[in-house]
Symmetry: C2
DNA sequence: CAAAAATAATGAGCTTACTCATTTTTCTAT
DNA sequence: ATAGAAAAATGAGTAAGCTCATTATTTTTG
C-alpha cells in the first residue's frame, strides 16, 4: 500500500479531506442537504470556511465526494441481491430495487444527488460519476452474459447496449419516483413492464413470445 | 375565447406575467441562465425585485415557465420530421434528433433545463413537465401504433410501455450529451443501437432477427 | 359611494455560497 | 540550518436569490 510514501503535505491534505467529507456526510444525514451550510461543515471539520472550497469547488461537489464510496457499496449489495434470483428479468428488477431502497431512506438527499447527476460541472466530478456508471452497467452486463448460458438471452446480443438500455429505463423511473410522479408501487410496475419489453428484444428469435405480459 | 371575462386584477396579473416571462426569455438567451440576475429580469419587466417571486417561486421556476411553450413547438416539429421517415426506428431517431438539435443551439440553457427536470419542486412545475412528457410520449405512441399496420410492430405490444422505454433511452443519452460524456456522434450511435434493441422486442415473433445490427 | 376585506406589489434586508488578497505551512536547494 | 519558492489555509468581503413587513390596488359589502 506504500503507506510511508505520503509526504507530510499529502498526509495533511488527506486527513483534512477525510474530516470535511465525514462532517458533511453527518450533517447532510442529520439536517438535510439544503439546510446544512458550508460554514457548519467547516466548523464541524475544524477548518476555515474557505478551506472547504479548496477540496470541493461547490457545495454540490461535496455531495458527490460524500456519496461516491457509499454508492459503490450499494451497487455491490444490489449485485448480491440480484444473484438470488434465477431469471434475468427478476435479477434486473432486484438489482434496481436495492438501489431504490437506498434512495428511499433519504429522499431529499437522493433528490439532491439526482439533480447533481444531471448537472456535472467539474472534470473530477465527471470522473467519479463515470466510475459509478461503469461499475453499475458492468454488473448488469455480467448478469446478461450469464443469462446467455441459460438460453434466456441470445448469444449474439451486445452486452453494453443491453445493460445501458436497462439502466436508462431505471434512471427515468427513479427520476419519476424522486420527483413525485410515481409512488414506489408504480415505479416497480413501470420497471417490470419496461424490462419485459427490453428483454423480449434480447431473447433468442425462436423463443420470442408474441404477447408481452 | 371569453376575453371580456377577465377582471381587472386578472388582466393585470396576466400582463405582468407575460412581461416577466418575455424579459426572462430574452435575457436567458442573450447572456445565459446563470449570468442573468433576477434583479435584471425585474428591471427589464418593469416590476420590483420581489414581484418576480409572486409569479415564480424560484429563479429555476422561471426556466420552466419560459420554455414550456417553446418546447411544445419543438415537439411538434419533431413529430413532423419523424413522419418523413418510412420505418419506425428511423422515425424515432429523427424525432429525438430534432429535439437534440434544439438543445444544442444553447447548451448551457439546455443543461439548466435538464437540471430543473431532475428536481421539480412545485406542483405547478410538475404539471407543466407532466404535460410536456405526455405530449411527447403521445406522439411516439402514435408512431408505434402506425407501425403496427405495416407489420413492423406486433399488434399485441403495449404502446405506452414502448413509448416510455424509447423516451427513457433518449433521456439518458441527452443527459450524456449535455454533460459532456458523449459528443453528438456518440449520442446518435447510442440512440440507434438502443432503439434497435427495443424495437427488436416490439417486433412480431416470427420476424425477430437473431442478430441485432 | 364609503368602508372594509382581499389580493398584489414593493424593496430593504437577510442568508449563504463562493472569492481572493493575505498569511501560514511545507518543501527544496545550497 | 536557512532562504527562498511553492502550496495550502484563512476569513473578511461580495453578490445574488429569496423573505417578509409594509404599502398600494382592486374587489366586495352595506
Amino acid at each position: 500500500m506504500a503507506v510511508a510514501a505520503l509526504s507530510r503535505r499529502e498526509q495533511n491534505k488527506h486527513d483534512k479531506r477525510a474530516r470535511i467529507t465525514a462532517a458533511a456526510r453527518a450533517l447532510f444525514a442529520h439536517k438535510g442537504f439544503a439546510a446544512t451550510t458550508t460554514q457548519e461543515i467547516a466548523d464541524a471539520a475544524g477548518v476555515a470556511a474557505g478551506t472547504i472550497f479548496t477540496y470541493a469547488r461547490t457545495k454540490d461537489d461535496l455531495l458527490i465526494l460524500v456519496f461516491h464510496d457509499e454508492m459503490l457499496d450499494v451497487v455491490e449489495r444490489a449485485r448480491k441481491r440480484a444473484l438470488q434470483q434465477p431469471r434475468l428479468r427478476d435479477q434486473a428488477i432486484a438489482f434496481f430495487n436495492e438501489i431504490a431502497d437506498y434512495h428511499e431512506r433519504d429522499l431529499p438527499l437522493a433528490r439532491a444527488l439526482m439533480r447533481q447527476l444531471s448537472y456535472v460541472e467539474s472534470t473530477d466530478q465527471r470522473a467519479l460519476v463515470s466510475q459509478l456508471m461503469r461499475r453499475l452497467t458492468g454488473h448488469l452486463a455480467k448478469l446478461i452474459d450469464a443469462a446467455k448460458a441459460t438460453g434466456e438471452v441470445a448469444a449474439s446480443r451486445p452486452l453494453t447496449v443491453a445493460a445501458r438500455t436497462l439502466f436508462a429505463v431505471y434512471f427515468l423511473h427513479l427520476n419519476g419516483l424522486l420527483n413525485g410522479y410515481l409512488d414506489r408501487a408504480q415505479f416497480e410496475r413501470a420497471l417490470t413492464a419496461d424490462f419485459t419489453l427490453v428483454l423480449a428484444g434480447l431473447a433468442p428469435a425462436r423463443a420470442a413470445k408474441s404477447k408481452i405480459q
